[in-house]
């Protein structure tokens, strides 16, 4: 299989499999007071230290969660409740228009059900939020902003946001700033402390860790109201028995990703450029989406004029090539990407786009296979589109 969908999920690293396999054979609840519990607790805390050290945080800033979506929900809802509870005037949630649904949907839900005011920050044609635009949005009424959330790097087009600059603007007004950094770990230089953000979402399965383990990094003094209530295992902010084997794997994955980051990112960027060039040779009018320079090394998001993305995906899938059209709705129907629409694309262009994403194990053979298959697939997809009234 030619797997070009690493941004969806990527193979679990052998080191992680080994660590988790060993841990699944062990007994103990990290919250128990006896020897077995202490052993599990030690594993969890070592994972916490690994995550903290790899991302420029301190161990007590790491709140483990069941993944990125849970961390985003905790940040958006929990910070809103905390800020609104302290001052009922704070009702505005500012999010970039290109956020993942794990941020957009909680923010919209808060507006629909909790009296929040939802406001999107516009992006430019490259998908970036201008710090001046954030300042202008806050300036309209600095006292009523509950929180700001802007992702570190976009999961569809790969655009990297100027997060430290944006966080600095929010900090001037003492407004908490959350960033979803799920796609940035292992390829960008992430330093939680230096970035100045209040909260940061990371997850395991995009970097060779397991699905089901992630974290919300919370700076000292940033205390969201819990979303999950129960035993209070994680700083009273997140309840639920700590999933020791998954967290051990997560810690290993984050540690390895950070250690190998520079070389890995350079390798991906080179391969990505080859992929784009190869597709362009086969389909000269293909368009590369996203920011020209501030972009993730492993993502190539391409628009194929006159094609429907779902038809292209099916034709490539039939040739054993896995890629993505972007987010799918619950019935599995591709909707035009809100990211591309926010960047100014028309719905037809948005629907005619595919994301190819590279990761560990990607190589020249993948690029070659795509280069051979994409031309005929585009031709067919165009013929099918033309027959549609």
């Amino acid at each position: 299989m030619v797997y070009l969908d690493h941004a969806a999920t990527t193979p679990v690293r052998p080191e992680v499999v080994a660590d988790m396999t060993a841990e699944f054979g062990e007994l103990g609840n990290a919250s128990s007071l006896h020897g077995a519990g202490r052993r599990a607790r030690r594993v969890v805390e070592e994972a916490r230290e690994a995550v903290a050290a790899s991302l420029g945080a301190t161990p007590n800033e790491v709140v483990f969660t069941g993944g990125g979506t849970e961390a985003d929900n905790l940040a958006v809802k929990g910070l809103y409740w905390a800020r609104h509870g302290a001052d009922p005037a704070r009702r505005r949630i500012l999010v970039s228009a290109v956020e993942h649904h794990a941020v957009l949907d909680p923010a919209r839900w808060m507006a629909d059900h909790q009296g929040a005011v939802y406001e999107e920050l516009p992006v430019d044609a490259g998908g970036r939020v201008d710090p001046a635009a954030l300042r202008a949005a806050i300036e309209r009424d600095p006292a009523d902003v509950a929180l700001v959330s802007v992702m570190w790097a976009n999961n569809e087009v790969g655009t990297v946001q100027p997060v430290p600059e944006l966080a600095a603007v929010a900090r001037e007004y003492a407004i908490p700033f959350h960033t979803d950094a799920v796609q940035a770990v292992g390829v960008l230089d992430l330093d939680f402390a230096a970035s100045g953000v209040s909260a940061m979402t990371v997850t395991g399965h995009k970097i060779g860790g397991p699905v089901g383990a992630g974290a919300l990094l919370l700076a000292r003094g940033v205390d969201p109201v819990p979303v999950l209530h129960g035993g209070g295992q994680e700083r009273e902010v997140r309840s639920g028995t700590l999933m020791t084997p998954l967290l051990r794997g997560f810690g290993t994955a984050v540690r390895l990703a950070a250690a190998e980051r520079t070389a890995h990112a350079a390798e991906l960027a080179g391969l990505r450029d080859e992929l784009v060039a190869a597709v362009r040779r086969a389909v000269p009018d293909v368009r590369l989406n996203g920011h020209p320079t501030d972009r993730l090394p492993g993502i190539a998001h391409l628009s194929f004029p006159g094609c429907e993305g779902d038809a292209l995906l099916m034709l490539l899938d039939a040739r054993g090539i896995a890629c993505s059209t972007g987010s799918a709705c619950s019935a599995g129907v591709a909707q035009p990407s809100h990211v591309l629409l926010a960047m100014g694309a028309d719905p037809e262009t948005a629907n005619g786009s595919l994301r190819f994403s590279l990761g560990r194990g990607s190589g020249q053979a993948d690029v070659k296979a795509l280069a051979e298959a994409v031309g005929p697939a585009v031709e067919r997809a165009r013929a099918a589109r033309a027959r549609r009234r």
Binding site: D310, A311, L313, M314, L315, D317, A318, S330, A331, G332, V333, A334, R380, A381, A383, A384, A386, R387, R388, R389
Partner: protein
Amino acid sequence: MTLRVLAAMSGGVDSAVAAARAAEAGHDVTGVHLALAKNPQSYRTGARGCCTVEDSRDARRAADVIGIPFYVWDMAEEFDRDVVQDFVSEYAAGRTPNPCLRCNEKIKFAAVLDRAVALGFDAVCTGHHVRKAGGRLRRSVDDAKDQSYVLAVLTREQIAHAMFPLGDCTKAEVRAEADRRGLAVADKPDSHDICFIADGDTAGFLNGRLGSEPGPIVDQSGEVLGTHNGAHAFTVGQRRGLHLGGAVDRRYVLSIEPVNNTVTVGPREALAVDEIVAERPVWSGCEPPAEPLACTVQLRAHGEVHPCRAWQREGRLVVRLDEPATGVARGQAAVLYDGDVVLGSATIAETSRRAEAAAAG
């Protein structure tokens, strides 16, 4: 010969078994669920629909079990334009449309087939209960489930690209086979009602789209017998829901005139017609007959067959029934058969009683 087959999978038992049979026959099968509603409902409510999220999941699961690729195709725009809006405007014009027929004609074997062929498929496979014989359509061996009536509108070209693996067995056999194959949809209830009217309230749906204006119910002489709450709630041959009171019971709807919002009722005998003119004939089973051809005709879904003579005149189908029939509604299809083979289909435009027959009878 191995064909590249696109199996339309509704999430029901028939299309799942049809796809499984096509795959087992050695074809290269890809399953596709057609999303026909822009905002699919999450859960089934009462009467079964065709395009809930749950149906999509059932179809996906069946494809997993069969071991074929599966995708969802968004056909909501085409479906709304060619089936739902057509349904509404037909009722607005006082006719009684058959949306399943229209969906086969415009969606499954037109929009979907066109797209499939363009993308490299050879055929579209469905779970319809109908047989193909020498390029012609033939009734299913299961009389009660036969769907040739709603497929007779297909052209020879469309039939050539269609695959109907279920025509040679009964519904009971299909269910047993689904169970044997481990398809969880084996016990799923049949869908009966119009898929885009999930609650089964057709009159309510039409009222919502067309509004409802009260108007007169008159007899054949024009005398006003009562009032209705919207003419499009009625179908020719209907008796219930007229609310005319005991004195004038046993009245049937004879015609609906949307222009003056009038429903005409009369005794059952007045429903009898024996001459039918139908538009837009499609002849898949024979050449258009210039001279009267002795055959049979079916005038509504699951209706009885009537011996007749039929021919084409000035691009329209003329049908003379040997014996009068009742409850023949404009907008329904007149489907001609030679035994159990489909000859052709056309949309009923006018019905009448031949003068000499009326005088004699």
